[in-house]
């Protein structure tokens, strides 16, 4: 040991300050643990708060507003020449991020969570080395939570340059609205960002290798989104891969070929590569310590979030599973509870939300997934065009579908596409967690006039008895 190389100690070390890590840290502190949070970002909040959910939603909201203003003429609301002041929008977005990040920082302080700015790596089963600006520091811990998240996956042989070949990180902080944008990858990140720029005036092309946009999502939910993208002039190329990407002076030239044998080329000012995310599990000393990872590098965990070393936990993106902030947060709580000696395990339904236009949200099983498992289903569907509130919002695209087990009428899943469904999915999620049956939704009063009535009527529709719909099929 070098003189001055002082070893500090803590009960629990949390690596990473995202929505998994900071939630775990706060809960641990609430349960009386002494916690040190090691974070190498400017603020706590992780990708979600700094380079993901929050800034993208800020931009999406602005894009939606701009897009809706001309449509408001039908309501008699007239505004001439609406346009975006990009630097102001960027500033506002940054202010939202700053405010939230500072808030989390404050909360960590109030909970007496020690924070260390730097990058940590395990150098022993109970010690971490943290590279800080002022040099390395050593931290002895009793338990650790690995919450280091994930990062955008680059195309093979084509690293992000931050200029022409950009990741979702950079797509949120572009110096200007690009006149043209090519999005490689039709998943939710690519579509959310692609659609914003289309609304803000970019000419957008989306390349997706699979036959459908938003792979893994019920195709019925994707249809209205695809229709909207097309109406915004987004060119969608499915079953298509980028063959060659050649950055030139001002533009990037992309040659593509499709499975059907077609090929062509697109030029764009920037190429957003959104083909997935890779776990941040290297350089942490996990291998030397014997923490098991899978072939893709995700840390293996059990339902209590314990890794193969029982005093080391992993949560969030780095631990695999669906890459969503709320899933990471719940896992952080599970880890914290277990460290504090409380029995907890991740046995949850994770709602998925996609902030496209219209929004998509779903939880539990789709009809197709239920069939795959050999479960016979009954389902009910209700469209927003028959929902009063949706009409007054002038936003009626989409529907809600409730899927139930045919024999028992237990709710298996709920799928939604339409206005504000990201807010509506929580009721369905609670229903699934509670083991609700269709009658539970059916016999619950939903306030009028609200969008939530569409969920109510979809539940009634399982028995063919939605009030505001004529069911041709008799049950």
């Amino acid at each position: 040991m070098v003189v001055g190389d002082l070893t500090e100690s803590t009960e629990v070390a949390v690596l990473g300050g995202g929505p998994g890590g900071y939630v775990a840290a706060i809960r641990l502190a609430q349960l009386g643990k002494e916690v040190t949070l090691i974070n190498d970002d400017v603020l706590p909040g992780g990708v979600c708060l700094l380079r993901g959910c929050i800034p993208s939603k800020a931009l999406i909201e602005a894009g939606n507003l701009l897009h809706r203003i001309p449509a408001a003429a039908a309501m008699g609301v007239l505004a001439d020449n609406p346009r975006v002041d990009w630097p102001v929008l960027q500033k506002w977005k940054d202010s939202v991020v700053q405010r939230l990040g500072r808030g989390v920082e404050q909360l960590l302080k109030q909970h007496k969570v020690k924070t260390l700015a730097g990058r940590g790596a395990f150098v022993g089963s109970h010690s971490l080395e943290i590279r800080t600006e002022s040099g390395p520091r050593h931290l002895a811990f009793e338990q650790a939570v690995v919450a280091t998240g994930s990062r955008p996956r680059p195309l093979p042989d084509l690293p992000f340059d931050g200029e022409k070949i950009i990741s979702s990180d950079q797509a949120l902080t572009l110096p200007e609205i690009p006149p043209s944008l090519l999005v490689v990858g039709g998943g939710y990140i690519g579509l959310e960002l692609g659609e914003v720029y289309a609304k803000l005036g970019s000419r957008v092309t989306v390349l997706e290798a699979l036959p459908e946009l938003l792979p893994g999502t019920d195709p019925a939910l994707v249809r209205p989104v695809k229709k909207k993208l097309e109406s915004l002039g987004v060119q969608i190329l499915l079953k298509t891969q980028a063959k060659k990407i050649k950055p030139a002076d001002r533009e990037v030239m992309v040659e593509w070929t499709s499975e059907d044998g077609a090929s062509g080329q697109v030029t764009a000012n920037r190429v957003l590569v959104a083909i997935g995310r890779v776990p941040n599990s290297e350089g942490l000393g996990l291998g030397a310590l014997g923490v098991a990872r899978d072939a893709k590098g995700f840390v293996k965990v059990d339902a209590r979030q314990r890794t193969s070393l029982s005093h080391i936990y992993a949560i969030g993106d780095v631990a695999g599973g669906i890459q969503l902030a709320h899933k990471a947060s719940r896992e952080g709580v599970v880890a914290a509870h277990n460290i504090a000696g409380e029995a907890d395990a991740f046995d949850n339904q994770v709602p998925a939300v996609i902030f496209t236009d219209p929004e998509i949200a779903y939880v539990g099983l789709s009809e197709a997934q239920a069939k795959e498992r050999g479960i016979e289903t009954s389902s009910g569907m209700f469209g927003f065009p028959a929902n009063g509130r949706a009409l007054t919002l002038d936003d009626t695209e989409g529907f809600i579908k409730v899927v139930a087990e045919k024999s028992s009428r237990r709710i298996l899943g709920v799928q939604m596409v339409g206005p504000h469904v990201s807010e509506l999915i929580s009721e369905a999620t609670l229903g699934l967690e509670m083991g609700a049956f269709v009658a539970d939704l059916d016999l619950t009063i939903h306030p009028h006039p609200t969008l939530s009535e569409a969920l109510h009527e979809a539940a009634e529709g399982v028995s063919g008895m939605a009030i505001h719909r004529y069911h041709t099929k008799k049950y």
């Binding site: 109970h126 209590r304 504090a340 049956f437």
Partner: protein
């Protein structure tokens, strides 16, 4: 495509069955119509034949599980049965039934799940590889056919706290919902572990010393000495549930009296040979049934049920009678006692008892009772308090006939006395009715010739 075998509807009103025993195991080759499992419904044991042949790929339930009608019981692998690697092992390719012992062996208490390590240096020991990592998104999951356990997050949390694997808990709620009580019951084998205080030690106020805590079902009996723990399953579980329902749903009073059965004993003795020649074993019970059915016609509130806001008086007279079997108490039902001769009743009593003991009795033969009789006298006992056969409003219990001194015509004589214990539901009727009914039964038992004269109308 693998074929699934859906647990079939076993008859009217049966929503689920308890898997008692698998007769096949995974990898076995099964022929069409071959019995694959023994399932117990209400009180009958039924063998389930396979609707098709094939190689068993998965058995989706464990012995002791409750299987809802419509659930996938087992699945078959592709390909013809003959292709099975284990097929035709010997001359007889009958599947080897799992020995009874294994099925009867008490299973270990619900896996006391490892509690999280307390923060201590020993926690540093590398644990074995994590057993079941959650599947990573993108990788196609192996499509579990099961739905998540039907329980609220609150109940699931309680299960974790009590170290109960909730997946193995039998749900008593609607549609098999696992309730808080179910979890607490499942936790009984190990005392419930006190939840660790979330407060730091310094903040945790010392709790006031509790008075002596009442012993609960979850008590740690092992503290006081060695015990054996026998899981409640099969008929024992049915009986236990049924008794609890009866105790909760009725208000029971037992009226006790005795009948002088000298004349009846004499009659039975005289006619025993006549019956034997006709292959019938004549006991006191058919006479008693006849006496009861005539009396019941005069006291219909004892051949009744309370249902919601109504008392249902039954115009039929189906008698349940308790049979002690190896597996526990069973109550077969003799239908239309009023329309059957004593000889016929005697025959049915023997037949149904036999079926119950062999457990070949049909589910239907256990249903539809309107009144019941339980005879402990064959074993012994003077008086006892029978429990109603819910939802019946009355049950008559018989003690052991014994000799007692009686005064007749100013002289002390020896008489045979049959103790009668009538339990009735006091919500439905009152003690006076019970006493009058019993008096009438005694009248017929004391003077059995009257059975020829009266039919209760």
């Amino acid at each position: 495509m693998p074929k699934d075998f859906i647990f079939p509807d076993l008859g009217e009103g049966v929503a689920e069955g308890e898997l008692v025993k698998w007769l096949v195991k995974e990898g076995d080759s099964v022929k069409e119509d071959q019995d694959v499992a023994e399932v117990e419904t209400d009180k009958a044991l039924v063998s389930i034949p396979s609707p098709h042949g094939g190689v068993v790929e998965n058995l989706h339930f464990k012995e002791g599980d409750k299987i809802p009608v419509g659930a996938v019981l087992m699945s078959f692998r592709d390909g013809p049965a003959a292709a099975a690697p284990e097929a035709n092992k010997g001359p007889e390719s009958k599947p080897e039934p799992i020995p009874d012992k294994a099925a009867a062996k008490p299973s270990p208490p619900p896996a006391a799940e490892a509690r999280p390590d307390a923060p201590s240096p020993s926690a540093a020991k590398p644990a074995p590889a994590v057993p079941e990592p959650k599947p990573v998104e993108g990788a196609p999951s192996p499509a579990p056919s099961k739905l998540p356990v039907l329980a609220t997050p609150h109940t699931r949390k309680l299960a974790r706290e009590l170290g109960v694997d909730i997946e193995t808990v039998r749900g008593s709620g609607e549609n098999g919902r696992v309730t808080e009580d179910d979890v607490r019951r499942a936790a009984a084998p190990g005392a419930p572990v006190a939840k660790p205080s979330p407060l730091p030690a310094a903040q945790a106020a010392p709790a006031p010393a509790p008075a002596v805590a009442p012993e609960t079902a979850a008590a740690d009996f092992e503290k006081y000495g060695p015990v054996q723990r026998i899981p409640i399953k099969g008929i024992r579980r049915k009986i236990s549930e049924h008794m609890l329902t009866t105790a909760h749903q009725t208000v029971m009073v037992t009226h006790i009296d005795e009948a002088d059965v000298d004349a009846l004993m004499l009659l039975r003795q005289e006619k025993k040979k006549y019956a034997e020649e006709r292959g019938v074993k004549l006991t006191l019970l058919p006479f008693l049934m006849k006496a009861c059915v005539i009396a019941l016609k005069n006291y219909p509130y004892l051949n009744a049920s309370l249902s919601g806001d109504e008392i249902v008086l039954k115009d039929y007279f189906h008698f349940g009678f308790a049979v002690d079997t190896d597996a526990g108490l069973m109550v077969p039902v003799i239908r239309d006692v009023d329309q059957k001769s004593i000889m016929r009743l005697a025959t049915e009593l023997v037949d149904l008892s036999e079926q119950a003991r062999k457990r070949s009795i049909s589910l239907e033969a256990l249903k539809g009772h309107s009144f019941s009789i339980t005879n402990i006298g064959s074993i012994g006992g003077r008086a006892f308090t029978p429990i109603l056969h819910y939802p019946d409003s009355a049950i008559l219990g018989l003690g052991r006939t014994y000799q007692k001194p009686v005064v007749r015509g100013g002289e002390i004589k020896v008489a045979s006395a049959l103790p009668l214990c009538l339990t009735f539901d006091h919500r439905v009727t009152d003690g006076a009715t019970a006493a009058r009914f019993t008096n009438e039964v005694i009248k017929y038992l004391s003077d059995p010739d009257l059975l020829l004269l009266d039919d209760g109308d």
